[in-house]
Subunit: 406 residues, 3 copies
């Protein structure tokens, strides 16, 4: 047949069905291995891929999230009452909110000149010559004036500097920690949206009846109040396995994780968040640890500005939202099914290797599996043979060669 006829046949044969020829080997060893491997593969796909990994679902892992936080509670500091306006920063209530637990306050700082702190390198002096004018020591608090002055009301002297006076290191007043802060509450409102599935969920149970009253009273508790979005700082610290007293001393950053795992094939009401808490800043064997920041309140008197400098130690809550939603979809289902089926093919590869290597009859099997063309006569010889005769032998040319041998 020439290429032309081949093409003709090809188009005629378009509607033929082609299926690979298969050799059946009645060998129990092989059979068991074969079925065993098949079983493993199928089990893996059914159990792990489909049931455990829900491969039949289309999924979305990064929902749009909105977090709104608000703190509540009052604490007594001496005869001074602190309310959330004073101890919460920033006030806007985003997904990062920090509360002050302890303050080191420096009152009435004014721009001026005063003595540098004695711990600053080369700050100690006995005469003006020891202080280079206009020098700025990086670890110091300001620019040196070149004078050597008594260290506040001490006997020894340090270089005078131009800065906010008095300097914090000397004048800061250490306030006691806000012990009541353990009962402060933070209200965390979180709404997520899965764009792909058009699903919108919130962490507050819609409750027409006495919702507001409930939210005023409840405190979150995994067991008792899983749907109450109001958390006691004490509870958060406890869940993060931190001592509150230690947090008051050094401060710290705690992550509040809101985890949404939504199987949208179930009822949407099943799609509720779980909360977990973990300290985010490393602290063990770390030279610098904890969380603190400085800010100031600025005042003016007779046109002169002065400030109260506050070094605040506290808890910073980072609200981190993880979301995962899945819903049945035909395309991943098909894809994974096909993958599963094709993966079964791996069994043959393994078993063939075993069969053709270890089994005593491997030469027979290989002969039967592999149809070798080394004995095929050249096309010329073929043409001498009447076509119908050839065809009567079907497509097996090894028979043909035999016929010729007769």
């Amino acid at each position: 047949m020439g290429l032309l006829e081949f093409i003709k046949d090809y188009f005629l044969g378009f509607w033929d069905y082609e299926t690979p020829k298969v050799m059946v080997v009645k060998n129990k060893k092989l059979g068991v291995i074969y079925r065993g491997v098949q079983f493993l593969v199928i089990t893996y796909f059914i159990w792990y891929v489909f049931i455990s990994q829900k491969a039949y679902q289309d999924s979305e892992t990064r929902p749009e999230s909105s977090v709104y936080t608000k703190m509540k509670g009052t604490a007594l500091l001496g005869d001074h009452i602190l309310d959330m306006v004073e101890y919460v920063r920033p006030s806007e209530g985003g997904d990062v909110i920090s509360t002050i637990l302890r303050r080191e306050v420096t009152h009435n700082q004014r721009q001026g000149t005063c003595a540098e702190h004695f711990t600053v390198p080369s700050a100690n002096c006995s005469k003006d010559a020891d202080c280079i004018s206009r020098e700025v020591n990086f670890d110091g608090n300001g620019q040196r004036t070149g004078r050597c002055v008594p260290y506040y009301n001490q006997t020894f002297k340090t270089c005078e500097i131009q800065t906010w006076c008095p300097i914090e290191d000397y004048a800061a007043i250490w306030e006691p920690a806000l012990a009541e802060a353990i009962n402060f509450t933070v209200y965390i409102k979180n709404a997520i949206h899965f764009p792909k599935f058009k699903v919108l969920r919130g962490n507050i149970k819609p409750n027409k009846r006495n919702g507001q009253k409930y939210l005023n009273k409840c405190h979150y508790n995994e067991k008792k109040h899983p749907y109450c979005p109001i958390f006691r700082l004490g509870y958060i610290a406890e869940q993060a396995r931190e001592k509150f007293s230690e947090l008051c001393r050094t401060g710290g950053v705690i992550g509040v994780f809101i985890n949404w795992k939504c199987d949208l094939d179930l009822d949407p009401s099943e799609c509720t968040p779980t909360y977990s808490f973990r300290r985010l800043d490393l602290r063990k064997n770390l030279p610098s640890s904890g969380y603190n920041f400085r800010f100031a309140k600025y005042y003016s008197k007779d046109g002169e500005e002065f400030r109260t400098l506050i070094k605040a130690f506290g808890i910073r809550l980072d609200v981190i939202v993880h979301g995962h939603a899945g819903r049945f979809s035909i395309i991943p289902t098909i894809i994974n099914t096909v993958t599963a089926m094709t993966s079964v093919g791996i069994c043959s590869i393994i078993c063939d290797w075993i069969m053709l290597t270890f089994i005593d009859k491997n030469d027979i099997y290989s002969d039967r599996k592999y149809d070798d063309d080394s004995k095929v006569p050249s096309p010329s010889q073929l043409l001498t043979v009447p076509t119908e005769f050839t065809i009567s032998y079907g497509s097996n040319h090894s028979d043909l060669s035999e016929g010729v041998a007769l």
Copy 2:
């Protein structure tokens, strides 16, 4: 042949080409099913995977994004002018910016003692004995002094507390909403960077000629000004399907979504963002809803500190950037093509099952498809036969058995 020869043959045969033997079934039913399934699979891959999902592209979905926001506009409140410095918080202009629409202001609060609000549980009293000293009611505003005092200039009495006086619940002045805020504008500058593709894009059209003038005049509008990054609050609320008046009353959180879909096989100038707006905080049938926060301005007079407490209702804009970029890459193209080709194999599985189950001639087909070895002689018999003779019969041992039968 022994294992040794087998190994020899194996190395000799390394350059042989092996291809599975295929049985052709001239059966229209099967053919149609076969081609039908093939067609479906191929269509799915070409249309969905390649054209719709652009599987020939390498993609990146999490660009580095930088957002800079700035608000503009002035509003008149009585005879007091509010500019953005007063109604925008935080001032740094990051990806979360909130604007105040309505304020409840409590002027001149001072640390001191005053009457608790009458709605606070157990705050109402007739004599001092009704008020436990040093008690702090969580819903209250401060610590009780133990005295029972007249409620401001009312006839009835409540327990006296130590706190910022006067208390907000009593003294707050409700200011009218900033109606003009509907014309405030927010300028959102967004730059994204796809590290993998080294592509840097911004949402502002570089425009040497009169760019600055354009940015001073234009307001974003999907139709008319798609490249103007300045948004009217009214437009945003409208796009989010919110009543601005209601937002003024309760406040709310609105997401500004900047979506970048970049096909880098096209001209980079095609890579422009689209904007969408959606309210992020849930509000329907929710007990607590809306967005508000408290902050204070601190003043000092004769060394005594006092403050103006402001409860602010407003809009918080969360700018959320989604990005996706794709560019042709050879590796995903190959992978997906291979997957497509192997997936076509699934057709045989289906059709074989049909053929061997439903077609009346299935026993013939199965006989021809499956070459059963149950009739193969034992190796011992084989060895009696001269090897060359065996080989002269090619690899078909069923012929051999026949030869012996003669």
Copy 3:
């Protein structure tokens, strides 16, 4: 055989092993192509997928990250000392921190009436009639009173407006840039957590001995101090290829990228971050560029509020953390191995196509590859043949037809 027996055989044959029959073609051209394609596929998988892409690992790409930033340094402005409390905003030290490099300060602004700036459209006037009362020009600074007043102590006149007076455009004092800011340092503490692998890492080397002393002295430098998390602003600007002087003029947003690439099969101490710096806001040929924001300090005198308005130009540092961790896992290893093996199948498809199209002997090959059933006798004929006879010939019906022909 009837369907019944077929089913019986099926169950008996459950433990049979089935392997496709393969035709061996002793054709060097084909063999070379075949092995060549195989080589390419296998190379791709071994080199790219397994070695380069580490496909044998289970990976996690979105760690939980916590960033804490703190700035340090003092700058002299005239005879006024600026410390970090004044030039850093926000003070809480989150992952976005901005430092002021230059200020335009408007002192003692009070609510009142004063002349509009002359550049504002329609602000210039000669008589009151030119100014519409209660009109608010969007680009203006306030609401017009309807009077036409001298422009501060100039000869020409502009419309009077109600606003914070004096207006910034007129009264702002341009302060010189903080040249010393180039030596300011920012301390960036970053801790990440890979939940899947339960791995917690920080960017500070735990160092019991003199860790604190080291952190007080060191400045980050890729070569000399890769483990020092303290960065000079000058170094950051330089790494981002920005002129510090230009940043002082216009301000800018710079991204600090912390990249974690952790191969958890190695020692955890290998898992250390690398830092990179890039300017995030586009600036070339952009009408508006740079980074600035406004804020005010509020004071009170005799019950009257006044403020100092500050327009601040500076650097905003956005700390962006990228993380990737991988650890050996059996499932991805198996999956990718299977994929690799099945992908080798692609070679046959290519070679078959070549063989059946280009090779001169393609008709012989096709005959031998494709076992055509067109010449199979009808089932009726089959039934005339004794079953055992049929079986004695094995399953090869082309032999059978031959037998009949004898």
